[in-house]
């Protein structure tokens, strides 16, 4: 049965809003919904350019619309996910606010779908604490009168110019069988490679195929690789700080040419080898985590080396070979 691992990508992006969207967001903190004039139309939410002609629209032509409006179309969301604006069933609707020429897409909270129809009148339910985000309107609710949810903390102190955009995606990957074999073998302090039956090249890292001969490599192609090698090249990274960065001090990643083979293990961590002593030609040996240590799926996710945690100086003299440095792959 196929095993799956989960991977998440998360990053707090920023958005600079510009004069038009910035004014719209600032308006939301004041419980005002702004559109922008384009000829005899009022576009809501406002755009910086006319969507038909591409003409620049004048931020001075922004006008307040609503607060109430009419539902023009809707769809029911019976089972909201975490990313939906409401935690209970609701409608997404096109709402033409009074004075607007175009509909605004937002949530309508009616409790049940039979309480909603095209032509229904709705008004915003404002969040008490507003930051300049479309979510400052929790949802639209039936009626003509806007509401405020909880104590009103008032408008933003300064015009809103930036917005946080916390993007995240989580997805599941099937783990190729070869990676599980490599990971299991690493518990027994074995490094498994695979030999192509056509060209006889040996590959590390559980690629599962020969990219030159386009041949799939199965268990019968597994070979044990040596535990000693030579650093052919390296990179010393001075970490750049960003959300999620765990490194704070310069660290090394080395390329290791395994003895008696043509196999390079790329971007390997080092153990008990200070950054200043990393050099081309240095002799190293595999360093292992204790077999009972629980290496999480980061092993499979992050390179399939499992219990192989890095490379430690072996104490042998350096290898002097001018061609070594060219071996990055």
């Amino acid at each position: 049965m196929t095993r799956f691992v989960e991977n998440s990508i998360v990053f707090p992006y920023k958005r600079s809003l510009g004069p038009v969207i910035g004014a719209f967001m600032t308006g939301l903190t004041e419980q005002r919904i702004l559109g922008i004039r384009s000829g005899d139309q009022v576009i809501v939410p406002p755009l910086e350019w006319d969507p038909q002609t591409g003409a620049e629209l004048d931020p001075d032509g922004m006008v307040e619309v609503g607060p109430a409006g009419t539902v023009e179309s809707w769809t029911w969301v019976p089972a909201p996910s975490e990313q939906h604006p409401l935690g209970h069933p609701f409608a997404f609707a096109f709402i033409r606010l009074d004075g607007a020429s175009t509909p605004l897409l937002h949530a309508v909270d009616t409790g049940a779908p039979d309480a909603l129809r095209v032509g229904a009148r709705v008004a915003p339910r404002w969040r008490g604490s507003r930051v300049g985000h479309i979510g400052d309107i929790i949802a639209f609710v039936p009626g003509e009168q806007p509401e405020v949810d909880g104590p009103d903390s008032g408008p933003a102190e300064a015009p809103v110019t930036m917005m946080d955009y916390n993007a995240s995606i989580t997805y599941r990957n099937p783990v190729p069988p070869v990676l599980d074999r490599l990971r299991e073998a690493s518990r027994d302090q074995r490094i498994i490679g695979q030999r192509c039956p056509v060209c006889e090249r040996v590959y590390s890292g559980g690629r599962g195929y020969c990219p030159i001969d386009a041949v799939e490599l199965g268990e019968e192609q597994d070979v044990d690789l040596p535990h000693t090698g030579t650093i052919t090249n390296f990179t010393i990274v001075t970490p750049v700080q960003y959300p999620g960065q765990t490194e704070t001090e310069p660290f090394a990643r080395v390329f290791v040419l395994l003895d008696g083979t043509d196999v390079i293990l790329p971007y390997q961590p080092v153990v008990e080898l200070p950054v200043g002593e990393v050099r081309v030609g240095k002799r190293v040996a595999a360093a292992w985590a204790p077999p009972n240590d629980d290496i999480d799926d980061a092993g499979a996710m992050g390179g399939a080396y499992g219990h192989l945690i890095g490379w430690i100086p072996s104490g042998e003299p350096d290898v002097e070979d001018p061609d070594l440095v060219n071996r990055i792959f």
């Binding site: 600079s16 591409g54 783990v175 030159i212 060219n326 990055i328």
Partner: protein, 389 residues
Amino acid sequence: MGAERTAVIGVGQTRHVSARHDVSIAGLVREAAQEALDDAGLDWGDIDAVVIGKAPDMFEGVVMPELYLADALGASGKPMIRVHTAGSVGGSTAIVAAKLVMAGIHERVLTVAFEKQSESNATWGLSVAMPFQAPLVAGAGGYFAPIIRAYIRRSGAPDYIGHLVSVKDRLNALRNPKAQLHLPDIDLKTVQESMLLWAPLRLLDVCPSSDGAMAMVIGSEQAAAAAPGPVAWIHGTAMRSEPTMFAGRDQVNPQAGKDCAADVYAQAGITNPREDFDCAEVYVPFSWYEPMWLENLGFCPEGDGWKLTEAGATAFDGDIPWNPSGGVLSSNPIGASGMIRFGEVAQQVRERAGDFQVPLKTGKALGHAYGGGSQFFSMWVVGNTKPES
């Protein structure tokens, strides 16, 4: 090849800075596009199609720029295409736009590339843990540093060669009001004393992080005849790619780069690039890539690139100026950087480069971009005379 004669008829770009908090991404892109239209004497309605490029999606978290930016770029009712080839995207985007005209499909195509690095962190974008891959955790500098080390050992270049490029390109940038870095006091010592980021690369050997956009209007022979100013004729375009990693790959002098150059030179009748070009704008995000690409692009025999740099051949007053605009080392809105190279050489042959205009002798110049792990290459040759066919 039976292609229609095609020219750059308008060029526009933003001033490149570390953070443009006053505009949206759409506003940034629009600024460059409007300048290119003004330069070509055109309005939004005169454009037949839009071709847009940006760097990898995670760099800004904008996954569908062609959707988001259609109204900002006046694309309603027109074809809009997005191109995606990592760091070389600015170049390949311009080439896709040019081909729509060469093929006789459109008369006037707007092409735009951009990056707003201040909204994210490109090093994070390059370091995301991907399933079943050894994590890079190193950013672009950490990736390229070992390749640079291999070049230095292979060529026997002295260790200060990269720093010379860092100084030269920043001094060139002083002539370019749109460049991000203006470092009037830079010298060899300042570079050598800057922080070591990824040995052997120091802070000042590395490109900055920029917000900026570049745009061009590409037109047919007829559109070029109607243009208010001089145009840059496109004499050749080429793209090549190769896998990032395979056993035995030469990353110092990639085959795809050599093949791409040979192709574009053959189209443009270039037999000796050092003599046949008046200048080149080449993608040099890390200083050592100047001598490396001098060799890869055939400006000298393999192993001699650093000698040209050291002799000052590539300086503003050298016999073959490289990156008179200040180059990627002075402004790097990643997605736009390739198109800036392509656009700056168009400006040179139009004699519109202002204070960094080089003297025209042959009237031809090379624009170059590369991306990924040196796996995507795009190049074009522009000239001030109409190509023969």
